[in-house]
Amino acid sequence: MNAQSNDAALTATSNSPERYYTYGYLDEQTKRMIRRAILKAVAIPGYQVPFGSREMPVPYGWGTGGIQLTAAIIGPDDVYKCIDQGADDTTNAVSIRRFFAKVADVATTEDTAEATIIQSRHRIPEHPLKDGQIMVFQVPQPEPLRGLEPREMETRAMHAYEEYGLQYVSLYENVSAFGRIAATAGYPVMVDERYLMSPSPIPKFDNPKLHNSQALMLFGAGREKRIYAIPPHTTVRSLDFEDYPFETQKWEESCALCAADDSYLDEVVLDDQGQRMFVCSDSHYCSDRRAQGLRGPMAGHELVDIDKDAGQ
């Protein structure tokens, strides 16, 4: 509530009476418990490891899984980037980035290439990830089969027996109803040809970035108390059929601000007369391209200024 006293509680030097919380917020035993869960998750790609998820100072559903993962792996030398919907300046991303700047005394960045830990909700950055980087995903529902089978005891058995027929039947029902596979975000993937996995609600546009990625991908679901992972250089296949192959979203437009035609676009409604513009969802990718002098048809639009303002 009182911003100043809260700051002191989180950032005062160790052992001073004002400091009520450990480095990185979580106590050391909890961090160790989470790291052990991460190691298990890395050892069994795509398998959901139950863990003793803690109550965090942000609500469940607002990134508690991702925050716990980050808290367990972050150190003072890390450079931390946090995005929501691809953008660094969305409210919840700002809030989480401030949290770690405070509790982990860590440098923050918007630059994808510069970051060592990238925490994200709903997107993977456009700029290819490299060796040594860690993506941390916030996951609302870790169980890809939950929409088809509500019971945890059942779905755990289905994973154990690699019994994924139900998932394929559901995709087939899509094809017969809509003429195509209907999943648009959170499109199910098969990891290392063993575990069916939810990539979290990223658009299927981002699914190919999971395959043979150089970066380690960690997924944290705080409310559901599960951690899972895709180690670097792991096969990740989006489910499909021979005659209905997996395909990603495409736009007829390119980014109105930076002219990118290879990025995921958000639709921005300009008025209630049907006017709209399409802009990159990855705010850093877009500003980087604009800095290189690339200009889309609406370059200089006020939206650019809003980006700048938010960074203050």
Binding site: W62, D89, V94, H122, Y264, D272
Partner: protein, 376 residues
């Protein structure tokens, strides 16, 4: 009109928080509420926040209620988020509710019960008429309630002791004091759930959710035909064995509400017919919650007792996964976060489906028009 694109920003967040502070304080010409006043005069809110917040501390619960402007679910969340940062020293010995210093105890099963019916401070039998005297400032101080002429029996006999010589009621499930109980704050939910896990989840669970589930059971959705064997509320000592001592020491007196619901059991080939029990226990004075918990606990034993499982209140995954209001409130309200990336993906899909629909319709109309053409 032009829409303003919603973008975040640190300034917007900190301004919103300043506004929240102002709204919480309300009209500054009205004296500020003190935490002591909340603790003493909103004691039932305090008890609910302690129970659902899984943290026995009246002062912190009162602070949480003040900070959350009286939003009990938000106050519970504040308590949980604080509690989670505390080190865990171990677990206490099971508390002996039979030895409770009772302030209230009633049984609906017998007209009189050894030790008597003790009403205590209760809303029961009050007429729910607004007392406008309370709205007047400087009201007369409350006159002290009359004292009983003789002290209460202590320890007060329990409903179990009444039944014990006939074995009409199933034995209390006693766990060995040395067995470490399941702890949901350290381990994730797992199924099938043991009794300790089930009772912990229910004790932390949302009062409204458990109340409605218990009510649904009473109305026939998984009925257990409950009868209120006993409700008792009062203080019990908590004992803890520190490693360095090796013997129990008393570390606190806490207020608890306990409820035992009796429920019929027809018996089986191996077991004689007898009453089974549903159990409720909460921090503080939380009677509605404790009774609901006892009914739901018994309903969740359906499988164990060979009853059919077909109602929501009997389904342990359904009940235990959805009873926590901190989890539920967070996840329902996370829908306020931006979802425009997924929505864009959905929009593209819907537009494609609509385009195909109108193409098909146009083609069908063209064919119909051709067929309608008069033959020449």
């Amino acid at each position: 009109m032009a829409y303003v694109a919603v973008k975040g920003g640190e300034r917007a967040i900190s301004n919103a928080h300043a506004l929240l502070e102002e709204a919480r304080r309300g009209d500054p010409s009205v004296p500020e509420l003190l935490v002591d006043q909340v603790r003493e005069q909103l004691s039932l809110s305090v008890d609910r926040v302690m129970a659902e917040g899984s943290c026995y501390d009246r002062d912190l619960a009162a602070l949480a209620i003040k900070q959350s402007a009286g939003d009990v679910a938000e106050a519970t969340f504040l308590m949980r988020a604080y509690r989670t940062t505390l080190p865990r020293f171990g677990f206490s010995k099971p508390v002996e509710t039979a030895a409770m210093a009772v302030r209230r105890r009633i049984s609906a099963a017998f007209k009189d019960i050894p030790g008597g019916q003790v009403l205590g401070a209760t809303f029961d039998y009050t007429h729910r008429l607004l007392d406008f005297k309370l709205a007047a400032e400087g009201a007369d101080p409350v006159a002290p309630a009359p004292q009983a002429l003789e002290p209460m029996v202590h320890p007060l006999p329990t409903i179990s002791s009444v039944f014990s010589h006939e074995n009409l009621l199933e034995q209390e499930a006693r766990i060995d004091g040395d067995d470490e109980p399941f702890d949901l704050t350290r381990e994730p939910m797992s199924f099938p759930a043991g009794r300790d896990q089930r009772l912990q989840a229910l004790a932390r669970g949302d009062e409204g959710f458990l109340l409605s589930l218990a009510y649904s059971s009473q109305r026939g959705w998984g009925s257990t035909h409950p009868l209120c064997g006993e409700i008792r509320m009062g203080e019990v000592p908590v004992e803890f064995i520190p490693d360095e001592l090796g013997f129990p020491i008393e570390i606190a007196d806490i207020t608890l509400t306990e409820c035992i619901m009796l429920s019929g059991f027809a018996g089986s080939a191996e077991r004689a017919p007898q009453y089974t029990r549903g159990y409720g226990l909460t921090f503080g004075h939380n009677e509605r919650k404790t009774m609901s918990m006892a009914i739901v606990d018994r309903a969740l034993r359906a499988r164990e007792l060979g009853e059919e499982v077909d109602a929501p209140c009997q389904d342990e995954e359904f009940v235990l996964y959805h009873s926590d209001n901190v989890e539920a409130s967070g996840f329902v309200q996370h829908l306020k976060l931006p979802h425009y990336v997924d929505f864009q993906a959905d929009l593209l899909f819907l537009r494609k489906l609509r385009a195909e629909f109108f193409d098909r319709k146009a083609a069908a109309e063209a064919i119909t028009a051709l067929q309608m053409e008069p033959a020449e």
